[in-house]
Symmetry: C2
Subunit: 235 residues, 2 copies
DNA sequence: GTCCTTTTGTGAACCGGTGCACAAAGTGAG
DNA sequence: CTCACTTTGTGCACCGGTTCACAAAAGGAC
């Protein structure tokens, strides 16, 4: 096998492409289950909800894995995308904050099924520490550094209240973790080289509300005036 | 109030800007609580985690609400952004699927605090129907259309298993809802004019894993040729 | 009033990403 | 073999969004 992936894959897959690879992977897994051997860019694009030119360009960043006139080999493409995303290795994930959201995440099947293993649940509340959730014992936040070190945790999910998130992030970073998925509604400040992805449930709703308002405005005519902004942050 | 915001606000705030407005709003609320009367674009930008030129351009799409040499009036800006996002009105939200995630969402404080009111919880599982969660009675999915109509639900949150999501979406759309927040890991197909936002927890982790792999690769030297695609594996 | 300082609002260059459209590469029939 | 057909991979034009950098506007000192 030749190394002809010179400029294409060697450096830098566009961020937008990376964000879509998991989508393709999911569609491909569905096809593999249904026994399809090959798939065209058109069919895969439809299944993933994107346009086929974009899909082809995305895949071309990984290398030239298709066959003209035929399409892509489903199994081979699954392997290539998985490898590119780093899903061929086992990732130990720790979830900090075992409130409603933390519990939901711990039980979420989508994690385990893709090379992610929830290796620890931590919380500050003595009431929660010791509970068994999703086959794991909830440990006290004091154990954070020890747990990260001993279990090789490389990704931390923050599901704490907003006020606690920054200090937990600081400790986690100090312990050597460089990838954080943050569900707390705060802007975390972390050193260069630490990746943070933020999921903010209320922001998504606010964006929907904006568009919904536009749609109804167009029919009725005008906005209203009232209400103010309460404040409450907790997960 | 005059309608002289001709081209600036009259039509089309960039999507990227809309997605950041909730961020600014949150930062501003924090500042209002701390008693700040005005804020410069620089300070607000830092608090929201963006650069100040971008923030100024974003705000300029709403109108010219700042004062040169001074900054922005915190209260006034909060009002303007809230109004623009449609948060000055009350939105009735229904959550379909009361598993771990649905429960977490029902209890999520961030919704209620911003003009969103969880008006209904629905599930297909008779085991769950009748439960009381977050002060609400879980109703059977058969009631979906009636509940939407009677309670004026305009936004639906889908937290069902993947297999059920499309058929629930179809019913919800048929009932007149045009805004859906989808947590199920499937690509929904809906008619023109229906807005869908998707939150996919496992995709976020996969993106993190990609970057994490890059970081560790860089230190260890990257993948060897043998790891590219073992010849032993047949296609 | 003039001058100096601060900070907004925006023109313009730049950049990453999208989508069209087509040549190149493959398959299969005859 | 040639011809017809399929589907990939990509050059290129386009577009939304970001960033720079600065003129314009406001306030304060005098």
């Amino acid at each position: 096998m030749i190394r002809r992936l010179s400029q294409a894959r060697e450096r830098g897959i566009p961020e937008a492409t990376v964000a879509r690879l998991p989508l393709y992977l999911r569609a491909l897994n569905g096809m593999a289950e249904r026994g399809l051997a090959t798939v065209s860019s058109e069919d895969l694009a439809v299944a993933a909800g994107v346009n086929s030119a974009k899909l082809r360009k995305d895949l071309s960043h990984l290398g030239s894995y298709g066959t003209r006139g035929v399409g892509y080999d489903v199994e081979y493409l699954i392997y290539q995308i998985s490898r590119e995303l780093g899903l061929t290795q086992d990732w130990a994930v720790a979830i900090v904050g075992v409130g409603n959201l933390g519990r939901a995440l711990a039980n979420y099947g989508g994690f385990v099924s893709r090379g992610f293993r929830v290796a620890a649940l931590l919380d500050a509340d003595p009431e929660v520490v010791g509970d068994h959730i999703a086959g794991l014992n909830v440990e006290h936040i004091d154990e954070l550094e020890a747990v990260i070190r001993r279990r090789g945790v490389s990704i931390v999910v923050l599901a704490t209240p907003a006020v606690a998130a920054q200090q937990v992030a600081d400790r986690v970073v100090a312990a050597g973790v460089t990838s954080i998925l943050n569900f707390a509604p705060v802007v975390l400040s972390v050193p260069e080289g630490v990746d943070i992805r933020k999921v903010d449930l209320s922001i998504e709703l606010q964006i929907l509300a904006f568009h919904e308002q536009r749609k109804t405005d167009r029919m009725t005519g005008g906005p209203t005036m009232a209400e103010e902004w309460p404040e409450a942050v907790d997960l």
